[in-house]
C-alpha cells in the first residue's frame, strides 16, 4: 500500500492558475488521520483555491490529490462521500429554516426523510443551534451561519474535514466549543484540515501546520529570537486581592528586570506596563526567568509576547505584517 492509497489528505505537486494568475504552484503536503492540520498563509496565498481543489469543486492544472485514498478529480462523488467541506462564507438558502437547510443537505447525501430529520437534530444539538432550528437561515448572525456551515459539513459523517476560516465571527465561547469539537473529531481518527487567520486560536488546536506562501508550501521558518512579555508586581504594596496593579508612574519596571538579567534597561521594551525582553530560544528564556526569580523580582506573568505560529507567520517571506484577517 503506497502513501497515496491511505487515509488522510495527500497532495503532490498541485498547480492551478486562473488566466495569468498562478494561484497554487507545485504545492505538496500531507495531512494525517487523527490529527488537526492548520493551513496558514497570507491573504492571496492560495489557501481557498487549494481547499476548493481538495473539495472536488475545482480541477487542478497539474498534480495529484488523494482524499481518504480517493482522487477527487477522477471520482468526485467518491471523494464527496468521504469529505466534509465548510467554505469561509456559507451560502445559506434564504427562505429555508436552519433545520430544513441541514435536512436538505442530508437528503442530497441520500439520507431518507426520517434519517435526514434525525441527523439534522443531532447536528444542531452538536453545534449549539437547536434553539434556532425553526428560524430562517438568512437571519442568522455570521457566527451562527458558521455553526450551520459546520453542521452541514458534518452531515454525512465525513472522514476528512476541510474547514476554511471556521472560527471567523464566532464568539469566544463558540470558539472554545469549536476547538473542543475539532479535537474530538480528530481523536475519532478523522483528518481535519483547517485554514485560519486567527493564529493564536489555530495554535491551540492544530497538531501540524502547513505554511502556504504564494501558492507554494514552504518549510516552517526556524524559531528565531523572540520577545517575551514579563509582568512585574509593582514595588509598592500589593493590593489586598493580589492583583498586579500597574507600577506607579515614574517607577520604570525595566530597571529591576535589567538589573536581574544583567543588561542595560534601554535594551528592554515596554508595552502596557509589561516589560518585553528578547531571548534567543526557550532555554535562554527559562534561564532568564530563573535569574529573575533568583533576584527576588516579583514576576506575575512570563509568556511569549507573540504566539509561535504568529511569529512563524510573520517571518514568512513577504507576509503582510498585520497577521489578522481583514475582510
Amino acid at each position: 500500500m503506497d502513501a497515496l492509497s491511505e487515509g488522510g489528505i495527500h497532495v503532490a505537486d498541485l498547480s492551478r492558475s486562473f488566466g495569468a494568475v498562478q494561484a497554487v504552484r507545485g504545492a505538496s503536503f500531507a495531512a494525517a488521520p487523527g490529527r488537526v492540520t492548520g493551513l496558514v498563509g497570507p491573504n492571496g496565498a492560495g489557501k481557498t483555491t487549494l481547499l476548493l481543489m481538495l473539495a472536488s469543486l475545482l480541477a487542478p492544472d497539474r498534480g495529484s490529490i488523494r482524499i481518504g485514498g480517493v482522487d477527487p478529480v477522477t471520482d468526485p462523488s467518491g471523494a464527496r462521500r468521504v469529505l466534509g467541506w465548510m467554505p469561509d462564507a456559507l451560502g445559506a438558502w434564504p427562505a429555508l429554516t436552519v433545520h430544513e437547510s441541514v435536512v436538505t443537505t442530508a437528503r442530497l447525501h441520500d439520507f431518507d426523510r426520517g434519517r435526514a430529520a434525525t441527523r439534522a437534530e443531532e447536528l444542531l444539538e452538536l453545534v449549539g443551534l437547536r434553539d434556532l432550528a425553526a428560524i430562517p437561515a438568512k437571519v442568522l448572525s455570521r457566527g451562527q451561519k458558521q455553526k450551520l456551515g459546520l453542521a452541514r459539513a458534518l452531515v454525512h459523517d465525513p472522514q476528512v474535514l476541510l474547514l476554511d476560516e471556521p472560527a471567523s465571527g464566532l464568539d469566544p465561547e463558540a470558539r472554545v466549543q469549536l476547538r473542543v469539537l475539532l479535537r474530538r473529531l480528530a481523536e475519532q481518527g478523522r483528518t481535519v484540515l483547517i485554514s485560519s487567520h486567527v493564529l493564536s486560536e489555530l495554535e491551540e488546536v492544530v497538531d501540524d501546520t502547513v505554511f502556504l506562501v504564494a501558492g507554494t508550501v514552504v518549510d516552517a521558518p526556524a524559531v528565531q529570537a523572540r520577545a517575551w512579555r514579563i509582568r512585574i508586581l509593582s514595588a509598592g504594596p500589593v493590593d489586598e486581592d493580589g492583583t498586579a496593579s500597574p507600577p506607579p508612574a515614574g517607577l520604570d519596571p525595566r530597571r529591576s528586570v535589567a538589573a536581574a538579567l544583567g543588561v542595560a534597561p534601554e535594551s528592554l521594551g515596554i508595552d502596557r506596563g509589561d516589560v518585553l525582553a528578547v531571548f534567543t530560544d526557550e532555554r535562554d528564556a527559562a534561564a532568564g526567568l530563573a535569574r529573575l526569580i533568583g533576584q527576588g523580582v516579583a514576576v506575575s506573568a512570563f509568556a511569549p509576547a507573540q504566539s509561535e505560529l504568529e511569529q512563524a507567520f510573520l517571518s514568512l517571506g513577504d507576509a503582510p505584517h498585520d497577521g489578522g484577517s481583514i475582510r
Binding site: 472536488s56 469543486l57 480541477a59 468526485p76 462523488s77 451560502g91 438558502w93
Partner: protein, 340 residues
C-alpha cells in the same frame, strides 16, 4: 442521476419561491389580466354566433405571451444566482451530480411556469364552453403551452449556467424569446424577399375595344419572393406552433373558423412555391387553378413539428452548454464567477 436528489433540488427552488410574497402577487396580477381580457374578448366577439372561438384564440395567445414574458425572469438566474449567493457549491459538494442539479433546476422552472398555466385553465375552459370550441382544441392548446413552458425554462436555465451575471442571463433569455416571437417574423419577411425568382405571369391580350382576346395569352415575368425557402423561420415562432398544431375547422365557405386556422393557412401557404399565375379575364373571376384552403392544408408539411424541433434544438443547445459549464471539478470557469 437520482430521482430523490433531483426532486430535493427542485423542491429547494420551489420552497424558496413559495415563501416569497412577490410570487403570489405575480400570480394574482396574471389572473387579473386574464380575467379582464377574457371578459373584454367575449364582449368584443359577441357580434358573431361563434364569439367564443374568437375569444378563445385571443385568450390562448395571451396566456402564451404572458408565459413567454414571465418565465425568463423566473428561470434565467437559477444557476448564476446560486453562484452569486454561494449556494451552488453547497449543492455540488453533496452527492448531487451535475445532472441532478441541472434537471432539478429545470424541473423547478417547468413547475413554476406550469403554475401560470394552471391559473389560466379556468379561463380557457370558460371561453371554450362559451364559444363551443371542441375539447380537442383545448387539449392541443394546453399541450403546446406546456411544451413552450418547457422550452423557455430550458433556455432560461441554459443561459443562467453560461453567463456569470444573472442580469445578463435574464436579458439573454429575453433576447432568445424575442428572437422566436418577433425575430422569426422579421427574418421570414426579409429573407423571403432576398431570394427572388422569376415567375411567369399570363394575361389575355386586350383588343382595341377593351375586350379580352380569349384565344391567345400574353406572358411576362415578374420577380417573386421565395417564402417557400424560408418558411422554417416562421415555423419556429411559438404562436405559429400553437396555431399550426391546433385542429382547424373550416366554415361552409371553405375558410378557417378561428384565428388559429387563419394563421395556420397563411403559414402553410408560405410553403408553396410561386406558381405560374394566370389572370384570365375570359373566366370572369373564377380562379380554379388556385388551391383551396383545404387543399393547401392537406398538401403542406405540418409546421408545428418543424417549429418545435427548431426550438428544442436552441433550448437543448443552451441547456447542454450550461451543463458542461456547471460540471465539477471545474476546469474552466465563466469569467468573473466564484465557486464559493
Amino acid at each position: 442521476m437520482s430521482a430523490s436528489r433531483v426532486w430535493t433540488i427542485a423542491r429547494l427552488e420551489l420552497t424558496q419561491r413559495l415563501r416569497s410574497p412577490g410570487w403570489y402577487i405575480l400570480l394574482g396580477v396574471f389572473a387579473l389580466v386574464l380575467l379582464i381580457v377574457t371578459v373584454l374578448a367575449l364582449m368584443a366577439f359577441s357580434f358573431t354566433p361563434t364569439a367564443g372561438s374568437g375569444a378563445y384564440s385571443v385568450i390562448v395567445m395571451l396566456v402564451l405571451l404572458l408565459v413567454m414574458l414571465i418565465s425568463p425572469t423566473l428561470s434565467g438566474s437559477s444557476i448564476n444566482g446560486d453562484r452569486e449567493a454561494a449556494t451552488l457549491a453547497s449543492l455540488q459538494i453533496t452527492l448531487a451530480s451535475t445532472g441532478d442539479i441541472m434537471v432539478g433546476k429545470l424541473l423547478a422552472a417547468i413547475i413554476t411556469g406550469s403554475a401560470f398555466l394552471l391559473v389560466a385553465v379556468p379561463f380557457l375552459v370558460v371561453s371554450m364552453l362559451v364559444g363551443s370550441v371542441r375539447p380537442d382544441v383545448l387539449l392541443v392548446s394546453l399541450l403546446v403551452l406546456a411544451a413552450e413552458i418547457v422550452i423557455v425554462a430550458a433556455i432560461g436555465v441554459g443561459w443562467s449556467g453560461l453567463v456569470a451575471r444573472p442580469l445578463f442571463s435574464v436579458a439573454n433569455s429575453y433576447l432568445v424569446v424575442a428572437a422566436l416571437c418577433l425575430g422569426t417574423l422579421l427574418i421570414f419577411g426579409l429573407a423571403g424577399s432576398v431570394f427572388r425568382t422569376d415567375v411567369e405571369v399570363r394575361n389575355r391580350p386586350w383588343d382595341a375595344q377593351g375586350a379580352p382576346i380569349c384565344d391567345s395569352w400574353e406572358t411576362h415575368t415578374v420577380q417573386q419572393p421565395r417564402f417557400d425557402y424560408v418558411w422554417g423561420f416562421l415555423a419556429a415562432n411559438p404562436f405559429v406552433v400553437l396555431a399550426d398544431a391546433t385542429p382547424t375547422t373550416l366554415s361552409s365557405f371553405g375558410y378557417p373558423n378561428d384565428m388559429f386556422g387563419s394563421v395556420k393557412l397563411s403559414v402553410r401557404t408560405a410553403q408553396l412555391p410561386p406558381q405560374v399565375q394566370d389572370y384570365d379575364a375570359c373566366l370572369q373571376g373564377e380562379y380554379t387553378q388556385q388551391p383551396s384552403p383545404k387543399e393547401i392544408l392537406a398538401s403542406t408539411t405540418p409546421s408545428w413539428f418543424v417549429g418545435l424541433a427548431i426550438q428544442i434544438m436552441i433550448a437543448g443547445g443552451l441547456f447542454a452548454g450550461a451543463w458542461a459549464r456547471t460540471r465539477t471539478p471545474a476546469r474552466r470557469l465563466p469569467p468573473g464567477t466564484r465557486i464559493a
